[in-house]
Symmetry: C2
Subunit: 492 residues, 2 copies
Amino acid sequence: TSSGVFLLQMGWGDLGAFGEPSKETPNLDQMAAEGMLFLDFYTANPLCSPSRAALLTGRLPVRNGFYTTNGHARNAYTPQDIVGGIPDSELLLPELLKKAGYTNKIIGKWHLGHRPQFHPLKHGFDEWFGSPNCHFGPYDNRERPNIPVYRDWEMIGRYYEDFKIDLKTGEANLTQLYLQEALDFISKQQASQQPFFLYWAIDATHAPVYASKQFLGTSQRGLYGDAVREIDDSVGKILKHLQQLGISENTFVFFTSDNGAALISAPTQGGSNGPFLCGKQTTFEGGLREPAIAWWPGHIPAGGVSHQLGSVMDLFSTSLSLAGLQPPSDRQIDGIDLLPVILQGKLIDRPIFYYRGNELMAVRAGLYKAHYWTWSNSWEEHSKGIDFCPGQSVAGVTTHTQEEHTHLPLLFHLGRDPGEKYPLSFASEEYQRAVEHISGLVQQHKATLVPGQPQLNVCDQAVMNWSPPGCEKLGKCLKAPESDPKKCSWPH
Amino acid sequence: TSSGVFLLQMGWGDLGAFGEPSKETPNLDQMAAEGMLFLDFYTANPLCSPSRAALLTGRLPVRNGFYTTNGHARNAYTPQDIVGGIPDSELLLPELLKKAGYTNKIIGKWHLGHRPQFHPLKHGFDEWFGSPNCHFGPYDNRERPNIPVYRDWEMIGRYYEDFKIDLKTGEANLTQLYLQEALDFISKQQASQQPFFLYWAIDATHAPVYASKQFLGTSQRGLYGDAVREIDDSVGKILKHLQQLGISENTFVFFTSDNGAALISAPTQGGSNGPFLCGKQTTFEGGLREPAIAWWPGHIPAGGVSHQLGSVMDLFSTSLSLAGLQPPSDRQIDGIDLLPVILQGKLIDRPIFYYRGNELMAVRAGLYKAHYWTWSNSWEEHSKGIDFCPGQSVAGVTTHTQEEHTHLPLLFHLGRDPGEKYPLSFASEEYQRAVEHISGLVQQHKATLVPGQPQLNVCDQAVMNWSPPGCEKLGKCLKAPESDPKKCSWPH
């Protein structure tokens, strides 16, 4: 059975099936109606790189090294001046699937490091079309090079130069390119009758948000909505393609997101987390609870809904299971195999750990969520208009100083209070019982935790994408400045 | 064609189909899947009595008298010491439907005045099972009598005495009684082959929230969720009953709410308004945007979605249209006939007026909403913990003083910003264009507006439910105190 993972940056509340009031995602809603909706599904970090590293390794970022110790509870990712990336010691899903004869392709943003040793084709992927970093820019190619776009081993151009993004109009045809890549890859695999893993990790809804001309202005929601519509349309075309090729019953497809909607960029460049608190960068529900849909015609009963606490890391274990493989036994794997949940309606008891950088901020078990630390962002940043919780403010919860609650965690019941507005009384029996249970889980977790070497500590302008492989052929090699390694500055 | 209207107090975000994360409303979700979901549907007031008066008259509360002039922009309703009620000059939907041979029944809360002249059977209903006021209590029957429950012309008991509500456990079997009444009425009408109008206006989700024993503890959402589940179950049973009797294709059914979720009572006694701002009592989207579903098998295409700006007042005109009747031509009717929307997918251009008491606070036209006044509640109330926007605060928008913006309205684009967090720049061309358009609508509206005599100004303890008709038979007549009319005090 092949696997396809759609990994977008989208908020819980961005899909019609999850209550977006414009209801403009007919294809994703159809995918949900034909498959299974996960209502309690989480990413592994409120930021993209660590979540993507977690998905592909089945392990928390604190284990696989996708975090920083430069500051307490600092989010970090892989801009192009970061020195680190995915360690060779980590076993990635595509590396393992290869043993079962899979062909693996990544389309879109890799984000697990851009230096040569971190190249996706050195970590199990057979094909790549996309970029190593976010599509920020345009840059001047002197202070900072534009981000390259790769086909497999080599770059084939750069954003804003060969792959246009019009920041004024928001027009870019990239999603169409990524769609075509997916359709072609699937056709090729169907023809060769080989199983495949397709990781469609595109970034149209990540600032700077873009959409193709035919989608611009089509949404009630502005440019962000246009991008959502184009992604929705693409997902629909990919699923239809699987059906038309007659391989949909042999292909498990999962749609989810790498972090909550970036409310800091809302409303033009950021989406919606529905009824949840705050967004990307935070460990409130808006930061990590994600839209999630499993689709596998003929296997998953149509219209299913699951309250299983799920994680992007489960896609690692589930895809291995579909390939008849076991997860590696020489290391801690945080993901679980969701097939019993999906196929037999089981509910597996497991906690969700909400990390921010090097700190365990919160833990969910059942319907209870305990916050051991609260923080939105600093007063200093907030006063400059950087707001992760626009329009929201819960006293003592959305704090602008890092508040420690390790002795008396703030406890919420996410069934009665999905918006994390009403902390339970410390004196209540319900509080005592739930916190005792969660504290046990935390102790157990911390006792066995072996943090990886932090990969996101050191930045160096010399390691930016000056001269990626293939640049000679294109005449696009740039001169790197002298190496000047320093601690990365992570504001949040 | 018969008409059924389910009118609850429920928030936009309380239904699975509208994105409630526990997804516990399978019957309502099924109703939506078989019928048409209205995503931009409004009640006529952020409070119950005026909304109900508007639904049954097709007219704004400011026209039919369901408002107060005791204070500026004060919400008002009909507690049992209110002297006023629905004027005889108003033509109610059931009065008109009678001319087409309909039998009309109200089950649940009337709320259009409890004095003899306001009795629902004097205003077109043929049958009544329910109460004239909210089920607050228990009272001591000295300072204040318990609320009577009527069957048709006479009371048959009182809440907390003959109709138990256990405030400690939240247990009450009232929804089951109301369900059975509906099933029996429908059976009787089917047997007699007479068209009917059934108005199922029950109050389990209004504080004090209650549910029957078999539903207590069944929801992830606590007591409020238990009540929602019971209502959902009841709606499912009523629709199934229509189908089993073979009359579903002759019965138009609409589900909606009389105001947004009462966030002041959340989380135990209040629901969710999803991504919208604030709740009941306010003229933000959370106060008036409602869940809404139209169902009419064989006529409405399954799975439809409409962005028609709709109003509870449209149920007046639509039900008349279904009966082959015209709305009265001697007065302004604010409701429109939704059948072209529902059956032919048309979109009718019309504004939504958001009143709070005697003040036009805001107007929506298309995707734009202009606030002419903003107010949540007073600082004085807020400091006592009365909060209509818990966890939400938008600077200059959720104001605690009444802020006038009649010269420069605050403008929101509800497609890009359904949560009313980002007012448009006054200087933008978009602002100028939209405000000019809406200002024209306001001028037109105000120029032709003939306010009704305000019914909700005077209170008198002598008019309370001391000795309702039928009390003698039950030995439940109480002695009324002396009449002492005074201005009603309306805090909000």
